[in-house]
Symmetry: C2
Subunit: 337 residues, 2 copies
């Protein structure tokens, strides 16, 4: 029997800033058999997310950088196609850090989630029911602690995390303001994700439109961007405001640290806080969040949009495209069925 190839997307240059298509190459590697206690997973969906910029960066971060020549680190969803472990029989649908490749040989500890909600699409377990949704749920509710009637501002409001944050805030009884790029995404924020207001950060009158939308002030700011977008939001903090630092997508490089308006005086005068979090620290919260999110999806309270690229050939440029703002909703690459 001929051994099928395992196509892998490998990192070949250490990018400065946003990883570009040329920083990766696609290589056909031999297919490996799982060892004792291991499984082989056939990947069906690969995830693409802003945090990947950090995973390939040489500068200090919250995980070791992907080594040069290594398979690009990535969450993926797939099906066990060979198994030497009784808990994960062939056919089990799983997610985990399987990397940008057709097949991954994994240990039980590499499995992030066994998909049992078979009424919901597998792809959702990389997005609204995956780390994106869990991040939104934990960050907004546990870090931001919004109260009904408060005003919640979300940057990258139409993105995989942001769209979920905005909808959870609305479900919690908050007034929601989305910040996004371009009139189409503004429409999507209002029509699909139900924001009370949506503001286009690319528009010339962004600052005044945001000021108008914020009105009486901002109680919770869920920040995925940093940079000039956040600088404008900071001007509208209300007393006791909470700023949740979830991502820094608008800043191309942190080496050296870019300059911006100092935040200390805002924080002091407004008795406000800024708090960073990394979802990997809060694995105990995943099942709690997934259960709530799945119920909201089934009831129709929570909507999601996916941006699915077809074929592994799309992978090398997929992160750069995300930073160009091309995607509508959660970006995935479909490489199997």
């Amino acid at each position: 029997m001929p051994v099928p190839n395992n196509r892998q997307v490998r990192l070949i240059h250490r990018p400065i800033g946003i990883p570009q298509a040329g920083d990766f190459e696609i290589v056909a590697a031999p297919l490996v058999e799982p060892g004792p206690g291991q499984m082989r997973v056939r990947n069906i969906f690969l995830s693409v997310e802003p945090a990947m910029r950090g995973w390939v960066s040489a500068v200090g971060n919250y995980s070791e950088p992907v080594p040069l020549g290594g398979v690009m680190r990535s969450l993926a969803a797939g099906r066990v196609d060979q198994s030497n472990h009784p808990d994960f029989p062939v056919g089990t649908l799983v997610t985990g850090m399987f990397g940008w490749q057709d097949y991954a040989v994994v240990d039980p500890g590499d499995i992030e989630h066994v998909v049992t909600d078979l009424d919901l699409p597998l792809s959702t377990f990389l997005g609204v029911l995956g780390l994106n949704g869990v991040t939104a749920h934990y960050g907004l509710l546990e870090v931001g602690r919004p109260r009904p009637g408060e005003t919640v501002v979300v940057s990258t409001a139409a993105g995989a995390v942001g769209s979920c944050v905005g909808q959870i805030a609305r479900i919690e009884g908050c007034r929601t303001i989305g910040i996004t790029g371009g009139p189409d995404k503004v429409r999507q924020c209002l029509d699909v994700f139900g924001y009370d207001e949506a503001v286009d950060y690319k528009a010339a009158d962004f600052a005044s439109r945001l000021a108008q939308a914020c009105g009486g002030g901002v109680d919770v700011y869920f920040d995925n961007t940093s940079g000039p977008i956040s600088d404008e939001v900071m001007r509208h903090l209300r007393i006791g405001a909470r700023v949740i630092i979830c991502g820094t997508a608008s800043v191309a490089s942190w080496d050296p640290t870019p300059q911006g308006p100092r935040v200390e005086r805002h924080l002091l005068v407004k008795r406000a806080s800024m708090q960073g979090f990394v979802i990997f620290d809060h694995a105990h919260h995943y099942p709690v969040a997934r259960r709530a999110l799945a119920q909201w999806i089934r009831s129709g309270a929570l909507r999601y949009v996916e941006d699915i690229l077809e074929g592994v050939e799309q992978a090398p440029d997929a992160i750069a495209g995300l930073y160009r703002g091309e995607n509508y909703g959660k970006r995935l690459i479909r490489i199997g069925t």
Copy 2:
């Protein structure tokens, strides 16, 4: 009977940045009698503190600016010398926002504290047992929540608030690093306030000395300065670090907002927080803090240094002198006995 004069220090110019001597004038005003239910307080000590810069500033702040022509707002400690209120008989020692003047006519609600610990000097109720000490106690313990063995860094480490923060942190079992200006204050930090390390921010090798002192990283940073001093500390945050924003003394003007290195990436990668607080929000904590601080003073665990200027003529330049770093310990003006 001739009516004695009430010397008042009035604000006559709205300062840009640090208030200077020329922004005030000393005027002899007529002495007013207390009305029904009121008392007259003869001020003995006037307080001088960095926050006064904010009290005279036209830009957004946490209190209404002192009006032009008005008596400079200030905490003071004095003795009731006329009383129309049975709860505050003549001779009662009190503190409150009595302003930079010889005499203040006050309502019961203007009294911040009735001094009953008569074994302790009256001046301490404007410093280590006043808002400075209470600020240190609340900010460090309630906002920063240090745990034994953690590393606590304090800016303006020899100042009225900072020196108290450093000592409370040491009492709580933390390793303490003070940042201060000049070799004399470094000595004071080590010899008087018991810091484990003290670093001179005016020294050419400040950054490397700080890095060395921080060693394994910073768990709690009690920040009174903002600016380049804080920028260096931020580079050494440990995972889970808490930055307490208590003051911004090193930044001369916040209008327009000055630029500095963005903090979002530090906060994200280190899962760290920055939290501003204003002690006036936490009046419930004053007696708790005062009791603990007074006990530590009596037991010798907590030391304090006062920088007492003699005579109301010293008042106009006293804030500027504070920002020039002239004072050793809590700055006060003695205007009575």
